[in-house]
């Protein structure tokens, strides 16, 4: 009998020990002389490791660095927050102002404890309430400058520079020419249709470039079914029907699409400027021969792509005991040496574009940065005028099928009438926002559709939020 009781006690102790491990581990990490750092920028790994080595040599504090893919990063952050095991510093793999504002409201971050007077004047001037400042305190710093995901990359061996397309029609003709001249061996365009959020961002940005942003700022109403949107979808449908889009695009994520584009299976690919660094670093230099140009538009002429004011990149978790150390590392990233290094890896464009002259970068990277400087403006952003609208954005459920799903549905043979699908999406988005507004109003917040209306917005000009 005694033996049995002893064995039962031993079993319970074993199981108990197994579970106690988790909590003691978390506690020891928080108290140790180690700064934990999670991020998703693969191309910055070498630079950051060097930065951390110097930091450790100066302070004696180790930096535990973890790199994740953007999708894994979101999972890790959500689980880390709920289990109170966030790292000291982390990057956000999305730059959706309303989501970041929601995270601020939920107590994810803490202020860096930096005063604007400690920062270079241009960085201090770029700080914006609701993006990097909350209640006047600095929560993050913008280490990148504004950019978009819709640059048109091409292979000069397939498309001559003086034949680069500007309009939808020219793009169609160029894709057709590439396909026919290669006897069907090379497609016109390759797309990462399985990367829904990216393709949706591309569609929104192409609508900005077309002069029909998906939100009509004059009325505050959505216009996902504008004539320009329908023209873009008609172009894509025509390209698909004539076999000018790589047939595997339906299943490709960004990595797969980029690999196949770099291998010369298609002439064009739409991507952000980091494609220059990733392609140059990962592919044979002969394959990585490419150029970059402006996004296509319905008609020739000036255009503008809109973005909210530049947000932060790295944040210090509210649970961190190492705020000053984390802040000093983040601050180091806006220094010239780091910014030059940032330009050298040709990922996101550095916040200080003047360092491009001192960096060793590909001409296509410089051209991409010039395109951003010349054609990007700040969009009117409801959450910056009325922060409570971020609660509406959070309360809005994802309306499906999204524009990317609709287009992919057409490619896959599930949707026949694109115009009707866009009309339906626009109506559902309007209904969803109205429902979310009602819900947030019922919680006592002062929000209305008028918060999405910006009478003073002028297309072609940057909006002063």
């Amino acid at each position: 009998m005694k033996k049995v009781l002893i064995c039962i006690l031993c079993s319970m102790m074993l199981v108990g020990t197994a579970f106690a491990g988790g909590s003691s581990e978390a506690a020891s990490a928080a108290d140790s002389n180690t700064l934990t750092w999670w991020e998703h920028f693969e191309t910055l790994t070498a630079m950051n490791e060097k930065l951390f080595e110097e930091f450790t040599a100066e302070t004696g504090m180790e930096v535990e660095y973890t790199l994740s893919s953007p999708d894994k990063m979101i999972e890790s952050l959500l689980v880390g927050f709920r289990s109170n095991q966030l790292p000291d510093v982390f990057s956000l793999p999305f730059d959706d102002a309303s989501s970041v504002l929601t995270m601020f409201n939920e107590g994810w971050f803490q202020p860096l404890g930096i005063d604007a007077s400690e920062l270079p004047a241009d960085v201090a001037a770029s700080l914006c309430e609701g993006r990097t400042l909350y209640n006047g305190e600095i929560y993050s710093l913008p280490i990148f400058s504004k950019n978009h995901t819709t640059l048109l990359f091409y292979h000069p061996s397939m498309v001559a520079e003086d034949e680069l397309p500007t309009t939808y029609q020219e793009f169609y003709e160029s894709c057709k020419k590439v396909y026919e001249e290669s006897n069907g061996e090379v497609y016109g365009l390759i797309m990462p249709m399985a990367f829904t959020s990216r393709v949706n961002a591309n569609i929104n940005e192409l609508m900005d470039a077309a002069g029909s942003p998906v939100l009509d700022y004059a009325t505050g109403e959505y216009q996902y079914n504008s004539d320009d949107m329908k023209a873009l979808f008609a172009l894509m449908a025509k390209l698909w029907d004539e076999g000018l889009i790589h047939p595997s695009s339906v299943n490709f994520n960004m990595k797969q699409a980029r690999e196949r584009w770099a291998a010369g299976e298609a002439a064009y690919m739409i991507d952000g400027i980091w494609n220059v660094g990733i392609t140059k670093m990962n592919f044979d230099p002969e394959l990585a021969d490419f150029g970059v140009t402006d996004p296509i538009r319905p008609e020739e002429g000036d255009y503008m792509i809109y973005d909210p004011p530049q947000g932060g990149t790295y944040y210090v978790a509210a649970s961190s005991n190492h705020v000053s150390e984390g802040a000093s590392l983040i601050k180091e990233m806006i220094e010239e040496d780091y910014q030059i290094g940032l330009a050298n890896v040709m990922d996101q464009p550095p916040a200080d574009l003047s360092v491009l002259a001192k960096a060793d970068v590909d001409p296509s990277y410089i051209k991409g940065c010039e395109i951003f400087s010349a054609t990007m403006g700040y969009e009117p952003y409801p959450a910056l005028r009325n922060p409570d609208t971020s609660r509406v954005m959070s309360a809005m459920r994802t309306v499906t099928p999204t524009p990317c799903d609709i287009l992919n549905g057409y490619f896959a043979g599930a949707i026949k009438d694109l115009d009707a699908a866009l009309d339906d999406y626009n109506q559902k988005m309007t209904e969803e926002r109205n429902l979310a507004i009602e819900k947030v109003q019922a919680e006592g917040y002062d929000v209305s559709v008028d918060d999405w209306k910006f009478d003073d917005f002028v297309y072609g000009e940057s909006y002063a939020n």
């Binding site: 009998m1 049995v4 064995c7 039962i8 079993s11 319970m12 074993l14 199981v15 579970f19 999708d71 979101i74 999972e75 959500l78 927050f81 709920r82 959706d96 989501s99 929601t102 995270m103 939920e106 107590g107 994810w108 497609y187 249709m193 399985a194 959020s197 076999g243 790589h246 047939p247 595997s248 695009s249 339906v250 299943n251 994520n253 797969q256 299976e265 954005m393 959070s394 809005m396 459920r397 994802t398 499906t400 099928p401 799903d405 992919n408 549905g409 490619f411 896959a412 043979g413 599930a414 949707i415």
Partner: protein, 299 residues
Amino acid sequence: MIIGGKKHHEVLWIALFLLPNTLLYTIYTIAPAVMTAIYSLFDWNGFQASGTFYGIRNYIELFHDNVFFQSLKATFLFMLVVVPLRFLISLGFGLLLNSSACKFRSFFRTLLFLPVVTTGAIIGTIMIMIFDPSHGPVNIVLGKLGVLESGTNLLGSFDTALYTSGVIWTWKWMGMSLIYWIASLQSIPSELYEAAKIDGASVFQQFFMVTAPLLKQFAAIIFVLTVSDSLRVFDLMLTLTNGGPFYSTETIELFIYHMAFTDRVPRLGYASAAATIFALIFCVIAIFQSLIKRSREEA
């Protein structure tokens, strides 16, 4: 003292050996299931530390969600396609590789089992290349045979993606069923076959008169395991199609994952409600199977 025909100290020994497993099962299986059911009653945006009580509104919304119903349809259609395929093909290979007439049996068993130990994510990535519509070997061969038109994307068509994924899944997991079948076949005494041969039974008669009746109990278990596996398809589908195109391969597990982690604003309560409904459906199927099995045994 006697408890259920066993002495008191025997009962304690049984309890002792069951205790660690019971504790771990409770903590890792029962508690998360209960928590999922509780979370399903909350409106919980993933960025929040906790949700607000929402009653059964997540369930009401699910019953109006076309994507949820599409995912249920994809899950059960997938099950209906792959279970008979895996069950019968693995039985065929099992009979073949259990036969003494078959040369290199160990080699072929290993070959067929290899995909089982290969991660689903790797298989998904490789299969995208194998089924590539422009340069994939499957399309080239089927194109030359005149079965497929050039550029047909079997994994990229709304009509064929689920079935193509089903064939790949069956190939990956067939080795597992094969092991079960071989183990079952080896439990049949060889004397029965010798006696059948002496009585002049043909190969087919031996199968239907000796093998099949003795495999019945094993077949029921293998069938249940195959159904269970087919309902839990996740990693392979995530890398192969990520639920696309146009939700045609969005099985319920992918739906839950997308809602909980990859949606613009993750919805934990809603994903938990979907998981709870799926668990209930799974329970109903298990109870139904068990009832059928019991009624057959009684008959």
